[in-house]
Amino acid sequence: MKNQPILQLKNVDTFYGAIQVLYDINVEIYDGELICLLGGNASGKSTTLKTILGVCRVKKGSVTLAGERIDGKPTQYIVSKGVAIVPENRRIFPRLTVLENMEMGAYLRTDSDRVKSDIEKMLELFPQLRERLHKPGVYLSGGEQQMLAMARALLSNPKILLMDEPSMGLAPVLVDRQFHLIQEVNKRGTAIFVVEQNANMALSIANRGYVLQTGSIVLTDTAQNLLDNPMMKKAYLGGGAS
């Protein structure tokens, strides 16, 4: 299984105009893995996702998806090759109905019969969405919006799912449920790369983690080792602080 990474970032530098945001980033994600990317505010977490999606240009280094180089390619091409994102703050289409939102996720697919059965699968995974199927997205609560954003992303049949701060602004009971769902989706075979501030939660479900600090990866290890790392406890996990 661990022969070729499904997604690989190799020595990646990214800039915003003249300001360098990412320095020499190396990330490898294998099929079926659940990987988290941790880091403080403005450490470059979201930029890493934008770089993978081709929204930010790679200045140096390479991004490969299942062996194919995707850096420099347009975002829609990258999405068509199997990368999907659940963006920060969900960003569902507010005036489209839940069903239409999901159909937008399958925008690039041509197998409309399969799309129908995939939507049905999503409704089994997220039963709350079925009750709201024909309601505009704007009427959903935060937790439901998060589910819709996941369903939308999964409907593009991605090889890898990127998630940007899925727990932000959710009630504690929903945070638990959210991470449970992430794990569930991962078990069904989709590799997931999740960016989180909530380091404890993310590490409790992930296989491995990377830690970003001012644009560089300063630490990478298995999730358990990161949880036990005393430096991590101090900086990110808030060990004993509460």
Partner: protein
């Protein structure tokens, strides 16, 4: 308003030299122009500058898409022509007709504005565009049955201007007249920009809702922007009419509107020197392209496209030496794990933790909410909710997403009036008031999803909060009267005091930094600073620690407590992080489906069966 030399940009340091240079150039320019043709272009340039600066107030400062702008220019010109020509045989002196035409344009601008101000963006553009077309058709057709506008032929043979014994006829004399008028407009606009008016307008442009919630009377201020724009357009129109010695409907048509907009956009919306430069550039450029005949307009368009592609923020956008460079901390090499990007900030421990408690919870009720209901077309976001907040109390509101917490804040801050029930603050009913009135009454808030004025500096963001505590009007601002000067000093002092509560994170070089370049946590801090600047006594914080890591969350928790303990604020906070709620709250209120499901101390609420089921989940205490 003393500032260190290091805080000033290159332009500010050499201000006097620049003024002297500009003055000299303007004084001698008309005398060295090679011929009358170039003198005319020189005069026209001055007119365009005024026209562009007027539009800059409406579209640049306040962000209103005013498509009727050229009509106000026309109104000024026609009023001037009617009042000083043989057309109706009225011959008023220039010193009377100039203000009359400007005021006429302003009055009509005001009237149009008051009917269309509720419209936003594209809708405002469509309505004003229609007005401009009606105006042009009136000009063309009002020559029958009574000849008012002169129809296609317009009005010509205007009275020569007599000023203090001089008769202004020669192109050189006109150049001086136009440029003196232009300098007045430039000074007026620059002063407006740097005043409470300018900040209020720019706040509206950046985020209207946030501006309103920070105490800016947005409807009234937008109307004023519309009126000031029309005033400048009318003023320019009068001088233009006299300069051309005639007025025709064609002078005030769509192409002119497009050109003025190009000048403003090219110069950078809201940027006074930029717009001046844009106007100069676009007035002179066509002259150089004249010999290319048919290719002229094409080249013109091409240059615009290229310029906008290269410098979308306008030609004066951000030249290194003109504005302070933005900085991001360089790569950290220490190898120590840090959860925050604010690498250079060290919290002074003594400040926060050991300060003796000066204030604690009192018994007087300051906020009394009774039976408040919000019905969004059948969905009850808040349902007959009632609770009280006591003086200097910290009340936390918890509840699942969609429980109506933010809606409750919106109701208290007046963003929408409740469908039923009453909200009373300090004995005064505030339900039904507009947000800016609620702020003035003493209740300020922050927003869950950060609504800063992103292209304004940290300092100006906070200064917007002072809008409702200041009164200076346009005259006071334009003439720098004592009221304005006193208020500006007071604003500067008060705002810096508030920002200094956050230490180096919002002061020092950060004062001049645009809000969009701040880190996420600092933007949250700035939102609180902006709310504090309004002098409110009751603060409503919507998820102040969202998106912060444990270290920063802890600091924020201490800060909120500090605000109460040291400064005596009453605070209502919506929070999802339970360790925050536990540490700061005197009282906790749990909502679900818009109803109160529990109220009491943290422990009481956290052990409530309904709360556990709806909000906390089975594990009563979360991991952290």
């Amino acid at each position: 308003m003393q500032r260190d030399a290091s805080e000033m940009s290159w332009v500010e340091k050499n201000r006097l030299i620049l003024y002297a240079a500009a003055g000299t150039v303007l004084l001698f320019a008309p005398l060295v122009m090679p011929n009358n043709y170039w003198l005319r272009i020189y005069g026209t340039t001055g007119l365009w500058i005024m026209l562009a600066l007027g539009l800059n107030v409406v579209a640049g400062f306040a962000g209103l898409l005013d498509m009727a702008y050229v009509a106000f220019f026309g109104i000024g010109a026609y009023v001037f022509a009617l009042l000083s020509s043989g057309h109706f045989n009225i011959h008023l002196p220039f010193l009377l007709t100039l203000p009359l035409s400007a005021l006429a344009a302003m009055g009509i601008g005001f009237a149009l504005g008051s009917t269309s101000m509720r419209l936003k963006g594209d809708y405002l553009a469509i309505v004003t565009l229609a007005f401009a077309q009606i105006f042009r058709l009136l000009l063309l057709n009002l020559d029958r049955p009574i000849n008012i506008t002169g129809g296609v032929n317009g009005i010509y043979n205007l009275d020569p201007i007599r000023l203090f014994g001089f008769t202004i006829v020669s192109p050189v004399a006109y150049s001086y007249l136009i440029w003196i008028a232009a300098i007045l407009v430039v000074i007026g606009c620059s002063r407006l920009k740097k005043s409470r008016y300018g900040r209020g307008w720019e706040a509206i442009r950046e985020d209207e809702l946030a501006a309103e919630a920070m105490g800016v009377n947005t409807t009234w201020m937008k109307l004023k922007a519309f009126a000031v724009g029309a005033l400048i357009a009318g003023w320019t129109g009068a001088i233009f009419a006299s300069f051309q010695d005639s007025v025709f409907p064609n002078n005030f048509d769509f192409p002119q509107l497009v050109i003025v907009y190009c000048m403003v956009i090219l110069g950078g919306l809201g940027n006074v020197p930029g717009v001046i430069l844009g106007a100069v550039f676009l007035s002179i450029l066509p002259e150089f392209l004249r010999e290319y005949g048919a290719y002229r307009m094409m080249t013109y368009g091409l240059i615009l496209i290229v310029l906008m592609a290269l410098r979308p923020q306008g030609i004066m956008g951000s030249f290194g030496f003109l504005s302070k460079a933005k900085k991001r901390p360089d790569k950290d090499e220490t190898g120590v794990l840090r959860a925050s990007t604010d690498l250079y900030y060290q919290e002074k421990e003594g400040d926060r933790t050991s300060g003796r408690k000066a204030f604690s919870k009192g018994d007087r009720v300051v906020l009394d909410i009774r039976g408040v209901t919000m019905n969004f077309g059948g969905i009850m976001a808040v349902n007959t909710l009632g609770f009280q907040v006591r003086e200097r109390e910290i009340l936390s509101i918890i509840g699942p997403n969609g429980a109506g917490k933010t809606t409750l804040f919106n109701l208290i801050s007046g963003i929408y009036p409740p469908s039923a029930g009453s909200i009373v603050y300090e004995g005064r009913r505030i339900s039904g008031l507009k947000p800016h009135q609620v702020v003035k009454a003493g209740v300020a808030r922050t927003f869950q999803n950060l609504r800063l004025f992103s292209s304004l500096s940290v300092l100006d963001n906070a200064k917007v909060g002072r809008f409702c505590r200041t009164k200076a009007g346009p005259l006071s601002i334009v003439f720098h009267l004592p009221l304005h000067n006193r208020e500006e000093q007071e604003t500067d002092r008060a705002v810096k005091e508030v920002l200094s509560l956050f230490g180096a994170r919002l002061t020092g070089y950060r004062l001049g930094q645009q809000a969009m370049f701040l880190s996420y946590a600092n933007r949250r801090r700035l939102e609180i600073a902006r709310a504090l600047s309004t002098n409110a006594k009751l603060l409503m914080l919507d998820e102040p620690s969202a998106g912060m890591n444990p270290q920063e969350t802890e600091e924020m928790t201490r800060f909120i407590k500090h605000l109460r303990d040291q400064y005596g604020y009453t605070i209502i906070v919506i929070e999802h992080k339970l360790n925050v709620v536990r540490n700061i709250s005197d009282k906790v209120l749990a909502l679900d489906y818009g109803r109160k499901i529990a109220e009491g101390t943290y422990d009481e609420v956290a052990n409530d069966k309904e709360v556990i089921e709806a909000y906390l989940g089975r594990k009563r205490q979360p991991l952290r």
